[in-house]
Symmetry: C2
Subunit: 134 residues, 2 copies
């Protein structure tokens, strides 16, 4: 039985950090930083180079989205496992503290969405007015 995939994303693709950086629009430096923070993992080739598989692209994009949404890495680290697909695997992670964290974060995100929406709509309305009779 041959190994195909593991959480580090080894053994399948042979994407190195440069390609991942390019495909995600993320500086190499940051990919290493995310790894250091435990958000992503990479296994190493014989020469020490990091190797990633395809799935990492989406994962990095998701991380960037969450960072951009204002979540700190330590929170992202906590919630990422729950967002993985297939999701079924990860039920074991669902400790009560974890669930509490998720609920808090979900509500914070909802608040943020409301605030952002409100303000964006205000900006949009302003722009329409200006375009109208500016």
């Amino acid at each position: 039985m041959d190994v195909k995939v593991n959480t580090a994303g080894c053994d399948m693709g042979h994407m190195r950090i440069g390609e991942l950086a390019e495909r995600t629009g993320t500086a190499r430096r940051l990919l290493r930083y995310y790894e250091e923070q435990g958000l992503i993992a990479a296994c190493r080739a014989a020469n020490g180079y990091r190797e990633y598989d395809e799935r990492m692209v989406d994962r990095v994009l998701q991380i960037r989205g969450l960072l951009d949404a204002g979540l700190p890495t330590r929170i992202i680290k906590q919630i990422l496992p729950c967002l993985d697909s297939p999701r079924v695997i990860h039920f074991s992670d669902a400790t009560p503290e974890m669930i509490a964290t998720l609920e808090v974060e979900r509500d914070r995100m909802t608040q943020r969405i409301l605030c952002l929406t409100r303000n964006r709509d205000a900006i949009a309305a302003y722009l329409e007015e200006v375009r109208g009779d500016g």
Copy 2:
């Protein structure tokens, strides 16, 4: 004709920084910081104390919301004038660069809203699953 309100929020209320801090849940230090960054203004009493009127409470809350939504102060500073009510006063500010900035920012906010919504929904879905058969 007596002066009632100006952009600095003078002459009406006699709220000082401590009360504003308490009512907005914002550290005094930060209120001074926002002033330093040009997000809010205050006029001074004879003794040098900052004075604010009621409107500042909402304004500060709005600023905090935007900060929390991930906008940096320098952007907030640009978009705040457009969000003031009554809005009509501010048409003079509508330079082309300003409009461009606003359009960019509006679109960025829309992106953020989408990303946030997607991730929040994923979290919510996970929570539902866990609550269901965890």
